[in-house]
Amino acid sequence: MKMDILSVKDLEKHFGGVKAVDGCSISIEAGTVMGLIGPNGAGKTTMFNLISGFERGIGEIVFKGIRTDNLSPFKIARCGMVRTFQIPRALTKMTVSENLMLAPKTQLGERIWDVWLRPKRVREQEMQIREKSRDILEFFEISHLEDEYAGALSGGQKKLLEMARAMMIDPSMMLLDEPFAGVNPTLARKISRYICELHEDGMTFLVIEHDIPAITKISDRIVVMNEGKVMAEGEPAEIKRRRDVLEVYIGGEG
């Protein structure tokens, strides 16, 4: 059996009286794609925020053998977990290339004294980072946008930019929050192709998505959340057959 890269145990998060996440446990095997689905308000995004450290909750989160539930977001990112946001958050006043070059960790030029006293080394490293950013832009087929301000990009291009930027930190796991939302069918197909290719290279994904056909196509396993709880977990084919899951999505109240 393969190792779990991420395991979440009895996670809870309350906002006042509302239990956004209410005792969730999931584990993700390294190198797999896990889909996270559920109706609006099921607690999926809160789950994401807890895992990536943007919210604090109760419970245990272990990522690559490290307890991360009490770490700040930037430390979790340095462990190799990177997330995207539901509404793409490109740094609009920076160019596409700057957006990407920002991301790599342990850059020499991020320390003041090295900037002033070792400019040559800093420049060399910048060249390497630029090369890498060009490779990644090429992978996502947005090389032509390199020098554009990110603010000038379309919504779909911003999604690609966010994924490309995330790739710059050499993550071992990516959390994608609705990568297909508001994206035209052609681009959606492209995004799912990118995810599959990265998956083949060994990347682990946790993906929130409402587009059931798209997510079942790319996922190895799917977790269904409802009202803060995990209501089902299994392989896509299994999940698709479950009546209770369908009911939650197509108006279970009636």
């Binding site: 990112a77 960790k105 991020e110 003041i112």
Partner: protein
């Protein structure tokens, strides 16, 4: 004709001297606000700490060089002290704390007479090379020195903001959550920015003290902070070049309008207020037509989203 030139040269020297001090003072704030998005409404406090520390160190027998370094370091240190409790919070908290700090500091300087001589101010401290340079050339010498310092500060800052370090600052200015999602320690970078900005203000404080050769607490009123804000907005937020030009335009304006009082039926006090009204109007007009300032980039406008 020659008489006019004789009058004009010292006058221009004075304007340039004041401009260079304001330019360095504002470059510090530009690093904090323009590049990092920190709202510091008490920048003048660090000018005061720099000036007083330099002067008091020198009066207790330290060499000028050591005194200036002490002024710079202590200003940076106070930036650190103010930053630690406030920079983890939303940016408005820094604004509130700094504006309070600058006024508290001014009242301490006014009232702790054993330390600062209070409202009587301090004079009689050394000025750089005062024994070597003949008195009539002293301001010219000071101007050359200050322009050299300005050039050094400018290039040191330019190198910083064009480096990966500067890139992280800009990302924090735009969206700190994205920065931290990418593994950047937002709090630490903000702290560094505030410390360096404050240290630069401290340097400006020492320069101010040498130029006017007398300091008292009322040299460091809150209005000085807002002069720096005007300079930055005028020149173009997040542009160091713009900040320097802004300082020159602002100081020239302040000083040229002093002559207009002859043609206007105002008292000196009314004239001061009138000048601020004109500056306000000019800023409004500038913001309507060129909101990014003289040298700012429209794509990087810090105020809009």
């Amino acid at each position: 004709m020659i008489e006019y030139v004789d009058m004009l040269l010292p006058y221009i020297t004075t304007i340039l001297l004041i401009s260079s001090i304001y330019a360095i003072f504002s470059l510090g704030l530009n690093l904090e606000w323009g590049f990092t998005g920190l709202i510091n409404f008490g920048h003048v406090a660090f000018l005061a700490i720099g000036a007083y520390t330099t002067v008091m160190f020198n009066m207790s027998g330290f060499s000028l060089f050591v005194s200036v370094i002490a002024g710079i370091v202590l200003s940076g240190f106070f930036g650190l002290l103010l930053g630690i409790p406030t920079l983890r919070l939303r940016e408005d908290y820094l604004a509130i704390v700094t504006i309070g700090f600058s006024e508290v500091l001014r009242f301490i300087l006014l009232n702790e007479q054993w330390l600062t001589r209070g409202p009587f101010g301090i004079h009689g401290f050394d000025r750089p090379l005062q024994d070597v340079i003949p008195y009539q050339y002293y301001n010219t010498f000071l101007l050359i020195l200050y322009l050299m310092i300005l050039v050094i500060v400018y290039f040191a800052l330019e190198r910083l903001i064009r480096s990966p370090w500067g890139r992280v600052l800009k990302s924090i200015r735009e969206d700190e959550e994205v920065s931290s999602a990418l593994g950047k320690n937002v709090f630490w970078y903000r702290l560094q920015s505030l410390m360096i900005g404050s240290a630069i203000a401290g340097l400006a404080g020492a320069m101010l003290a040498f130029y006017i050769s007398y300091i008292d607490p009322n040299t460091f009123k809150p209005i000085e902070t807002f002069h720096a804000w005007i300079i930055i907005i005028l020149g173009g937020t997040a542009s160091n070049k713009g900040t320097i030009v802004g300082a020159l335009v602002f100081c020239t304006f302040l000083s040229v309008t002093q002559f207009t009082s002859r043609f206007l039926p105002f008292t000196a006090h009314q004239m001061g207020a009138f000048r601020m009204i004109v500056i306000g109007l000019l800023l409004i007009i500038l913001m309507m037509h060129k909101p990014e300032g003289i040298f700012g980039k429209k794509e990087e406008l810090a105020l809009s989203d």
